[in-house]
Amino acid sequence: MFSYYLRLALASFRRNPGLTALMIFAIALGIAVCMVTLTSYRAAAHNPAGERGAVLFAPSVDSWDPENSYDKDNKSLAPDLLTYRDAKALYASDIPDRKLITYRTGDIYTRPDKGMDPHYIPTRMTSRDFFGMFDVPFLYGGPWDGKADEGPEPVIVLSKEENKKAFGGENSVGKTLNWKGREFRIVGVLDAWEPMPKFFDVSNGAFHEMEGAYVPFAWGPILELGSHGNTNCWKTETINNFQDFLNSECIWFAAWVELRTSEKQRAYKAYMDNYVLDQKKHGRFPRPLNNYLYDVDGWLKRNKVVEDDNKAMLTLAFAFLAVCLVNTVGLLLAKFLNAAPIAGVRRALGASRRDIFWQHLTESGVVALAGGVVGGILGVLGIWALRAWYGRFVDEAARVLPFDGKNFLIVIAIAVTAGLLAGLYPAWRIGRAAPASYLKVQ
């Protein structure tokens, strides 16, 4: 019967092409607006670590000012970054399966053979486990070995883009780059890797550009590499050299630990608390004990990666879709009731209420499907237009507005569901209409 209902729906569209177009367009625009906002929302709300996000944790300890909480709006939050001392201490634990500490810096690199223009490379200081914990794909070579973290050895991993810039994309493993007057040996080149949001460093921007180079963390203090990201300080301290800075209460480091079992998670939390309690004895951590261990999802939420504007726009988009749907319900109702005499004849010829209901619901579904497809296309155009407009001067806007086929399918599914919901009442209503009243006079 379904194919028969489809044929009837098409015949019905031919009868009222203008009205049908209006309904399709209404659904399409509602859907398109939802799609654009949903895309940017999903991009922000996405957990790029996937299932692994549940065993990856960011420790957060409240080393902040006794007078003022770190976050004025949410006093219960501990800082989103760590001091050097605390980062080192949290990294020292044996409990985690894997662990890392990291921060963002950067400087001018040169090639010893002058084969590239000296240029600034944003650089991430981190530990070997970074690559394993975050499933970082390699094009050539691999991560440095564990020993290189300790020494530290002058080793470096390049991003795919940076390798293209510095070596024209060839396998550069074994070659060297000069940085801060030292030669760093390339041990690996990453494949394209751009988790969005950039969950492991959201305090510097959830959609901030990726680093071009990765270097063992221990080089930071040796080469006196300052942070090229957020640095926050609260305490009055005399800072006259880099060592003073490292020993200060200023925060600019992040730590991540992999804890595969809940026992380890509890043990690590206890380790954090014990550490802080011990530090209190030395006059640090003046605030009440306030430590957190966030998994990736929790971390993204704590850092409000999904902005209020994102949420407000999504709400608005769905309200708009609601208007479009109410509009469609009204138009469907009018259209169906206008055709009630024909439904009456069908009833006389033996159609049950259910037959009439399904026939009209099918018609609604077809309208919705058409609306979904047109809406999907409009949505793609909308996203494309926004990217073109904002991408001119905002790389981040393009990152926030990716587009994939999955979104398209979601959109069509929403459209059809919405259209069927919209058709529910009109189809029910027309199914209930008494057939006899329409037969006498057409």
Binding site: M1, R15, V441
Partner: protein, 245 residues
């Protein structure tokens, strides 16, 4: 074929009650060609709607082909309507956007018949009404008489036991009306029971039997001698007289 006993139907609004049928009783035998006559507002359309299972009623008993329909669900009534009854209306009531073939197809679809079976029946019905050449036309391309013949084809395609005709010639000129009546008689001769509602005594005279409804009751129960053919049929070109019935 059809047996109504003390059927009553009341229309209620906030202010008034109208007794459309009062203790209406009627027996129709299989193979009969019955004409139901009566003035406007007498209740003959209500009778047709109830007999055609289009409307519920307050009280009484109604058996169609041996089945008591009073307490049947809407679905069961729809099924019964589809299988046992064919309708012919004054204003044809063809689907304006479906062609002749698809119009006849409608009741067969609701019987969930296979495509081959439907096609056989449609072709056969079109042969009977003599419109096989017009199967791809849409109703607007046909004359009134042709449209009514399509409606008759639609009514007989499902091979019903009973055909309910409501002023079948009311919108036709005399020549077309005669063709339609000839066709109905032919169908009746093939064994189908026909109940025709009309307010035209001339038309009623061509039926086997004639009952008159006045104020929701049968007043005249005069069996008619079967007769064939006949001239002097007068159709009604204008429907104004019937408006609001």
């Amino acid at each position: 074929m059809l047996s109504m006993t003390n059927v009553s139907k009341v229309f209620r609004t906030d202010l008034i009650e109208t007794h459309a049928l009062r203790n209406f009783s009627l027996e129709v035998k299989a193979g009969e060609f019955l004409a139901v006559t009566g003035p406007s507002g007498s209740g003959k359309t209500t009778f047709l709607n109830i007999a055609g299972l289009l409307e519920p009623y307050e009280s009484g008993s109604y058996k169609l082909d041996g089945v008591e329909v009073t307490d049947l669900s809407d679905d069961a009534r729809s099924k019964l309507r589809n299988e046992k009854i064919g309708f012919i209306f004054q204003s044809f009531n063809l689907m304006p956007d479906l062609n002749v073939y698809d119009n006849i197809d409608v009741p067969l679809r609701y019987r969930r018949m296979k495509a081959a079976e439907r096609d056989k029946r449609i072709t056969n019905a079109l042969e009977i009404v003599g419109l096989a050449a017009r199967m791809k036309h849409i109703p607007a391309q046909l004359s009134g008489g042709q449209q009514q013949r399509v409606a008759i084809a639609r009514a007989i395609a499902g091979d019903p036991k009973l055909i309910m005709a409501d002023e079948p010639t009311g919108n036709l000129d005399s020549l077309m009306a005669r063709q339609v009546m000839d066709l109905l008689e032919k169908i009746n001769e093939m064994g189908t029971t026909i109940i025709m509602v009309t307010h035209d005594p001339e038309l009623a005279r061509r039926a086997h039997r004639n009952v008159q409804v006045v104020d929701g009751q049968i007043t005249d129960f005069k069996p008619y001698e079967p007769r064939t053919g006949g001239e002097g049929m007068r159709g009604h070109g204008a429907a104004v007289a019937n408006a609001g019935a």
